[in-house]
């Protein structure tokens, strides 16, 4: 695999070890943060070179220091952060420059875009103002000239109707459009270096692909170097000429991207590459009992408007969906954000008001009253996407895990509950001794295991998994996927697996439902969907998820 690049092949060879004439040269950079628990070293003396016009990826998992390296370059470290070493742009030392002097470079020759397009634009100002400010500050344009140039930039980032859209507020745009505006802003003064910090992580897969294509096109046009900070190896492999792999503040491996993927030298790099979810699920025997069936699920949200709230508008979030799950079976529900996939999962569990009929084990559970539903709840469980928000910070992990028992088995003693908590911890491969700790003492992956333990302690038959791995690093994802597989085989669990990540869905599911705007546009077995999708929407989702690697295997 050879990344498409502006840099001639012979030059890339030379860059491999020692870049001749870097425009950005980072030497022995150390970043430390003063915290209440003492000084934390985020970056521990690294060297990075960026050559003119090349694309460099810095990969690593969260906490590897990849973002802080570039924050230090831009002078954007938090107030308690301190950088040491040297960062030179075309020979000029940037580190230690006062903000005013640094502003000669920031936004002019070195620009940056961020992970969070939803919050990176000022919600109180029109995008026009936000676009023309950098133009007026650095290029000395008049207001009207800056506006004309801003419209031109919006055209370049493919915002439809730029002359009109320039007067929009950020909340009137989608996440993808906001990221395009961020890119337009960064490109305003034709920088030499564009730092992109996880530019597509917060976006839907199909939007991701478009933004990356856009960046590639603009790189050709502007001839700038791009530094991708990412944990997504798909992006690295597709776009980067050279790659730095960071772990715990240290560069563990660097080199030509193609070479790095084919012949990784470092054990950590190998682990990262192999962490792509692989394998398939064993099929369910055809005589397996039906656990749950839902007919005609329909969810409608009402909005009241007008003088007396009489003008009622309805939004159909889920438009009449049927679904059947057997024991041991996993139904993958995929689609972009807003497609109604999470709402469908909640409607089936009776957590949002919905029309339609749900049968559990043959008995009608929807429509039914809350009282009759309660004893059945233990069999139908839910795991959420955000392992940080879904655990109460004031309870210990053990208390969180056993809370359901207070409702469903109120008779058992405290000692028995504690014993079961220890058992549940072992079940999800956590050290039972850690059950007395509080959630903030656990990592994201560990928290998600606590969330899974909380459901497993009730011995459920069906678990709705709502994006359970989306907030996690790839290598952590892998272990959660393995845990879910293990629990499914052991207890014959049925899963409804809601995700936009088709790589994970493919590794776990029997059948896949593709949702768009509240309706199922396509459904079928994993093999049919992945090899023979009818709908272009499905094919787009797949292409976006696997980028140029449609067979979805690990990078070998």
């Amino acid at each position: 695999m050879v990344a498409q690049s502006l840099v001639p092949a012979e030059r890339r060879e030379a860059m491999n070890e020692d870049l001749k004439d870097p425009i950005l040269a980072i030497r022995n950079l150390k970043v430390a943060f003063a915290t209440y628990d003492g000084v934390v070293e985020a970056v521990k003396g690294i060297d990075i070179d960026i050559g003119a016009g090349e694309t460099v990826a810095i990969v690593g998992e969260s906490g590897s220091g990849k973002s802080q390296t570039m924050m230090a370059t831009m002078g954007l470290l938090a107030a308690n952060g301190q950088a040491q070493g040297s960062i030179r742009y075309r020979g000029e030392e940037l580190l230690g420059l006062p903000p005013k002097a640094l502003n000669r470079y920031r936004g002019k020759t070195i620009a940056m875009i961020f992970q969070e397009p939803m919050t990176s634009l000022d919600p109180l100002f029109k995008i026009e103002r936000q676009l023309i400010e950098p133009l007026m500050a650095h290029s000395g344009l008049s207001r009207s000239a800056a506006r004309a140039r801003a419209i031109e930039l919006l055209t370049k980032v493919e915002i439809p109707n730029p002359a009109e859209r320039i007067d929009s507020y950020p909340h009137e745009m989608s996440g993808g459009q906001r990221q395009r505006v961020m890119i337009a802003m960064a490109l305003a003064n034709k920088p030499d270096v564009l730092i992109a910090d996880e530019p597509t992580t917060a976006l839907d897969v199909t939007v991701q692909a478009h933004i990356l294509e856009l960046l590639r096109g603009l790189q050709h046009e502007f001839g700038m170097a791009i530094v991708f900070i990412t944990h997504d190896l798909g992006i690295v492999r597709r776009f980067a000429d050279r790659t730095y792999v960071m772990r715990q503040g240290v560069v563990v491996e660097q080199g030509d991207t193609g070479e790095l993927f084919t012949k990784p030298r470092d054990a950590y790099t190998k682990m990262l590459i192999e962490a792509e979810p692989a394998g398939r699920k064993a099929p369910v025997p055809p005589d397996s009992a039906i656990v749950l069936s839902a007919q005609g699920m329909r969810v409608t949200f009402r909005q009241r408007r007008g003088l007396f709230g009489t003008d009622v508008r309805t939004v159909e979030a889920v438009k009449g969906i049927d679904l059947t799950v057997r024991r041991g079976e996993t139904i993958g529900i995929v689609g972009e954000s807003g497609s109604g996939k999470s709402t469908l999962g909640r409607a089936i569990l009776g957590l949002v008001p919905a029309d339609g009929a749900v049968r559990y084990d043959g008995a009608l559970i929807h429509p039914t009253d809350r009282h009759a539903m309660r004893p059945l709840r233990r069999h139908l469980q839910l795991v959420f996407q955000d392992p940080y928000g879904s655990l109460s910070p004031r309870l210990t992990a053990g208390e969180i895990v056993t809370e359901g028992l207070l409702v469903h088995e109120p008779g058992i003693s405290r000692a028995e509950r504690d014993r079961r908590a220890a058992g549940a911890f072992e079940e999800v491969w956590l050290d039972p001794a850690t059950r007395h700790r509080f959630p903030h003492e656990f990592s994201g992956g560990q928290r998600q295991r606590i969330a899974i333990a909380r459901t497993m302690i009730l011995k459920p038959t069906l678990v709705v998994l709502d994006e359970p791995t989306s907030a996690l690093d790839r290598s952590v994802q892998k272990s959660i996927v393995e845990l879910l597989r293990h629990l499914q085989t052991k207890y014959g669990l049925a899963y409804l697996f809601i995700s936009h990540d088709l790589a994970v869905v493919r590794a776990l599911s029997d059948e896949i439902l593709v949702m768009k705007q509240g309706a199922v546009v396509e459904r079928g077995t994993v093999d049919t969907i992945f090899t023979n999708a009818r709908e272009s929407y499905t094919r787009e989702l797949i292409a976006a998820a696997f980028l140029d690697n449609p067979d979805g295997r690990s990078f070998t």
């Binding site: 919050t119 990176s120 950098p134 909340h171 003088l307």
Partner: protein, 306 residues
């Protein structure tokens, strides 16, 4: 926006109704009456007085009668200030109180916001600590201490400004009471602004401005607009309290505003005067809260009323 304003005003009617009802019965159930003097009035006289003011009627009838008159804008006669209606009394005092209150409001907002921004920009520096210390003092020292202190220093010792009185609205007469009235509010606003500003400066979109190499003045403009939102929410009730006068300040500086009526009305069991001040304050709160919400929508484009 117009529909929203109308709807808000319409929804103020039940609010005011409940306030009037509760206040009416509360003050009636308080022991004592408007004609309790140190020397008891002769029973025949008392009876005549009560008949003259319809106080001999059943309470519920009096309540309906009051409501009926209130709807027509009649706040009734005062029981203590003879020959005056409550409406006349309020109309006479309000111009002083409103004029003083608005001056204090403007001073409190500009002084408070400026101090808060300065403190936030130099967080944990000497200027931050001194602003916050002054603000804490401003909140904790009561205005019956601040008022006389100002009179003592600027009036008696330096002889720069008059001690009291309205002086026909002359600026020199207004300076000291305005400062005394504004100080506690300024302190609260300074603290609110500092906190909101520190928060705003940490926002992602401010990081974007820094990454684009924009100057401090642009960064402050962006951050301040976000930081003002919580301050504006606070201003509704604060403004209503300021313009309806302060008993203490008006007494100390001998200003004939409406502040004194709150206390006088309650002490004299002057039922109609108490009710009049309650209606006035409630009306101001409703109107100022509406102004605040409209202002909020003007500052934050995400808030749109339909």
């Amino acid at each position: 926006m117009l529909i929203y304003t109308l709807r808000r005003l319409a929804s103020a009617v039940p609010t005011l109704f409940i306030i009037v009802t509760v206040a009416f019965f509360l003050v009636r159930f308080a022991p004592g009456g408007p004609f309790d003097m140190e020397q008891p009035v002769a029973p025949q006289v008392l009876e005549n007085l009560k008949r003259a003011y319809s106080l001999d009627q059943p309470l519920f009838y009096q309540y309906l009668d009051y409501l009926g008159k209130l709807v027509r804008g009649d706040l009734g006669p005062s029981y203590s200030a003879l020959d005056f209606t409550v409406g006349e009394m309020l109309m006479r005092g309000l111009p002083y109180s409103i004029s003083l209150g608005f001056g204090a409001l403007i001073l409190a907002v500009f002084g408070g916001v400026t101090a808060g921004v300065v403190a936030a920009l130099h967080q944990n520096s000497a200027s931050d600590y001194s602003v916050m210390t002054v603000a804490t003092v401003g909140v904790t020292v009561p205005n019956f201490v601040v008022g006389p202190l100002l009179q003592l220093v600027f009036g008696l010792m330096l002889g720069l400004l008059p001690l009291g009185g309205w002086g026909g609205g002359d600026l020199s007469h207004r300076i000291l009471p305005t400062i005394a009235l504004a100080l506690p509010q300024m302190a609260v606003i300074a603290r609110l602004t500092r906190g909101a500003m520190i928060e705003a400066l940490r926002a992602d979109h401010i990081r974007t401005l820094r990454a684009n190499g924009l100057s401090n003045s642009i960064i402050i403009t962006h951050a301040l607009r976000g930081a003002l939102l919580p301050v504006i929410s606070y201003l509704g009730p604060a403004a209503a309290a300021l313009v309806t006068g302060s008993v203490v300040i008006e007494k100390i500086f001998a200003i004939p505003g409406v502040g004194a009526y709150f206390v006088d009305g309650a002490l004299n069991r002057d039922y109609t005067l108490v009710m009049g001040t309650v209606v006035m304050l409630a009306g101001f709160v409703v109107v100022f809260n509406l102004i605040v919400d409209l202002l909020y929508a003007a500052l934050d484009p995400r808030v749109r009323y339909e």
